[in-house]
Structures are given as C-alpha cells and as structure tokens.
C-alpha cells in the first residue's frame, strides 16, 4: 500500500489477556487510508479480539492503538467520541430489536446530535437505498432475513459517517445463499475508498477485495502481504496448513 497515505489505524505491541489467557501477545500493524485489510486465521487465533480492541469493545491490556487520530489506549481519550467514526459490523448483526429499520438507522445520529431528525432520516434513506433495503424501512429486525439484517447493520454503521469500518465475521451467521448480497455491499464500500478491517473466512472475498491479507495465529500476526502472496504463495508453514484446510 502506498506509504504516503495517512495511517488510519496504528497498532503497536497490542496485548490482550482474559485473566490467565493471553489472547493477543504482540500485535503490530499500520493500516492506511482507503486500505482493505482482511484478517484470516483459525478460530481462537485472536482475530476477533484484535478487531474488538480497535474500538475498545475489549479493554486493552497493553500497547498502543491509535484509530483515526484518537489514541484509544490513553485513559483521557473520550472513547465515545473515538467510536463515532469507527463503524462496526457484527457476526450476529445486533440490530436493535426494539426499533424498526429506520429507528436503527436514526438512533445514533440523532441521540449524539450529529443530525436533526429530518437530516438523519434523509441520510438513512440514502444509505438504505445503497444497500438495497429502501423497501423495508418500517420492518422490525425479526421480520428480516439474515442477509437483510446484515445489510441494514452495515448501513446503520455508515450513518455515523465513519472513517474506518470493522467487520467481525459478517457472513459467518448467514445462510449460504445470503452471503453474496452482503459481500457485494462490502465490495462496493471498498471500491468507494472506505478503510476496512475485515475478519472473515471468505477466502474468495479476501483474494478479490483485500489490499492486504493478514494471517493470525495464537495471538501473533504470522504473515502478511498482498492476497496473492499470502493466499497463493504462503511462506509460513502454519499459513499453508490453515489454507489447505479452508480452500
């Protein structure tokens, strides 16, 4: 990736323990503006935890994480302010069950005084159209399919006008026939220049969309590089071993 671009996510010696268990041991990575980084790795390798440390959904044990100019490992940083510009998409969608689609879209922008009700609604409608959900604005989450929920969840994150988007296995809980519609939305987002970190098992997506692929295992980044380097010509034994199982 071009080194002259701005660093959007800077991670240095990141450590994360859950009690005795060290999940992240020493993670170092810089992610540049507009870059799409796909994180691969076996389950338990710490890739989801890494992602959740980037917006501090997990308390960070050690190291430095700077996201979009906010040093979120600094106690004095207003974490809520920092999170406003870091969107997150979850494996289980996590749409607010007590609100319809429009309510989901408008809650954060209006509650955080980023927009008036009318502005928020206008933005919401535009974004919902972008993800192909404009016909379901008054549906409740329980009335939507998994793929539809995830597309709304992506739009909801975009409603805060984020500079970085984090995807935590966004297609793992979907029925196979719905994976494509969600990946298509993500691919379009990448094309539009969004800085993205994607934890996924979709090797095809990684190969096609990623600027960089990171392979994690056992709390470390084992290997990183372009998709063709990491996926097609892995150097590390463990990467080869993992890929042979999933490809």
């Amino acid at each position: 990736m071009a080194e002259n671009k701005e660093v959007k996510v800077h991670v240095e010696h990141l450590k994360k323990d859950f009690g005795e268990l060290q999940v992240l041991k020493d993670i170092n990575i810089d992610i540049y503006e507009g870059e799409v980084v796909v994180v691969l790795g076996p389950s338990g390798s710490g890739k989801s935890t890494f992602l959740r440390c980037v917006n501090r959904l997990e308390d960070i044990t050690g190291g430095t994480v700077v996201v979009d100019g906010f040093d979120i490992t600094d106690k004095h940083t207003d974490i809520n302010k920092a999170r406003e510009h870091v969107g997150m998409v979850f494996q289980h969608f996590n749409l607010f069950n007590n609100m319809d689609v429009l309510g989901n879209m408008m809650l954060a922008p209006t509650e955080l005084k980023k927009a008036t009700k009318d502005e928020a609604k206008e933005t919401a409608l535009k974004l919902l159209e972008r993800v192909g959900m404009q016909d379901k604005i008054h549906a409740f989450p329980s009335q939507l399919s998994g793929g539809q929920k995830q597309r709304v969840a992506i739009a909801r994150a975009l409603a805060m006008n984020p500079n970085v988007m984090l995807f935590d296995e966004p297609t793992s809980a979907l029925d196979p026939e719905m994976v494509g519609e969600v990946l298509a939305v993500m691919q379009q987002l990448a094309k539009d220049g969004m800085t993205m970190i994607v934890v996924t098992h979709e090797i095809g997506f990684a190969r096609e969309v990623a600027d960089r692929v990171v392979f994690m295992e056992n709390g470390y980044i084992i290997e990183e590089g372009s998709p063709s380097e990491v996926i097609d010509n892995p150097k590390e034994e463990r990467t080869k071993d993992f890929l042979s199982k999933v490809l």
Partner: protein, 224 residues
C-alpha cells in the same frame, strides 16, 4: 352473610381502600428502589454490585413480619431511646410503605437485573460501537427490551405485594385483614367475614391481572 355485608360492608370496603393505598405507596417506592438496585447490580462497578447484592440478600433473608416490627417499633426505639435523640414517630402508613417498598424493591431489583441480563450482550455492544454512552445505550436500547421480558414477573410481584399488605395488620394499619379481625371480634361471624375479605382480595387481584394481561398484549402487538 347479608348482615355482614349490610352492617360492615362499607367499613370493609374502606379498609380495602386502605389496603390499595398502602399497596400503591409501597409499589411506587419499590419500583424506584428496584430500578436503583437492579441497575447497581448490572453496572461494571464492584462496590455497587456488592451493595446491591447485600441489600437483596438481607431483605430476602428476613421475613416481612420481622421487617415490619423492626421498622415500626425498632427504628423509633433506636432513635428515641438508644441514641436518645427523641421525637421520632412513624405512622403505620409510613412504616408500612417503607416495609413494602424495601421488601418488594428487593424482588423488583432481582427482576430488573435478570431482565437486563436477558438482553443479548450484542445489543449493548452495537450501541456502544456507534458512539452512544453506556447510559444512552441502556435507556434507548437495552431497557426497552428488558422491560418487555420483565412485565409478567413485575405483574406477579405487584400481586404478591398487594397480598403482603395483609401482613401489615400486625403494626395496626387499618387495612382489610385488620378491619376484618375487628368485625369478627364484634360479630363472631368468622366464616362470613373472612369469606367476604377473601372475595374482596380476589376481585381486586383478578381485575389487576386481567388488565395487566391486556396491557401486555397491546405492548407486544405488531412486534413479532
């Protein structure tokens, strides 16, 4: 029976009114206490968690009749005689309200804690990831969902509290049981008087649970 109704019916109806007054006062403060201690139990703060747990354990571990005597007689005795400050007098209504509020509040705290914890953690995480504060996420996302699952238990607790007002006859509050005792004392017609008292409780509680059910149905309409 006719004699009881014509002779003492109005008196017993008034007593039922007192029962309802006491129950309403108790429930009002119980909701506040329950919300405070319920929230103290779920927030990420060890001290608050411990205080809330101790409160619930103590209240649940003491029979309400002991609590009633303790508040009505024990606290003024401590204040006036042991500490020697003097001048403290609790009316039966005040003591009864405190007693009901504490007792019902502890159970409400448990209902609210369980209700909040029944909401999927992802809801809070999604709200926080958008930049909402803990309080905003709680108010707008978690609590509205928690309350819907809590409603049946809360109604149940309301009914139990309404019936528990009868225990407060022991501190002399003129509610239905106390008044019925007096009626029996005068007439010796135990069967008729207690039968009427029972029917009065039954009618109020059936009305309460029916209207609560209707409200619950209305809340759930169009959601699933």
């Amino acid at each position: 029976m006719v004699q009881i109704i014509t002779g003492f019916g109005l008196m017993m109806l008034k007593a039922l009114g007192q029962t309802l007054l006491l129950a309403l006062c108790g429930l009002f403060f119980a909701c506040i206490i329950g919300l405070i201690f319920g929230l103290m139990n779920v927030i990420k703060n060890k001290v608050c968690n411990i205080i809330a747990t101790i409160f619930v354990d103590v209240i649940r571990g003491v029979p309400m009749i002991v609590l009633a005597y303790f508040i009505f007689f024990g606290i003024p005795y401590l204040w006036n005689t042991i500490l020697g400050i003097g001048g403290m007098q609790l009316t039966a209504l005040t003591a009864g309200t405190i007693c009901l509020a504490l007792n019902c509040g502890a159970y409400m705290a448990e209902i609210i804690r369980a209700g909040i914890q029944s909401v999927d953690k992802g809801q809070m995480e999604a709200a926080r990831s958008l930049g909402l504060t803990y309080g905003q996420s709680m108010r707008k996302v978690v609590l509205p969902q928690a309350i819907r699952t809590m409603i049946p238990s809360i109604i149940n607790q309301f009914i139990i509290t309404l019936k528990d007002t009868s225990i407060l006859s022991v501190i002399g509050f003129p509610e239905l049981v106390n008044t019925t005792k007096n009626v029996v004392g005068v007439t010796f017609k135990s069967f008729q008087a207690w039968g009427l008292a029972g029917v009065m409780y039954l009618v109020v509680i059936i009305l309460l649970s029916r209207s609560a059910k209707a409200m619950e149905r209305r809340l759930n309409r169009g959601r699933e």
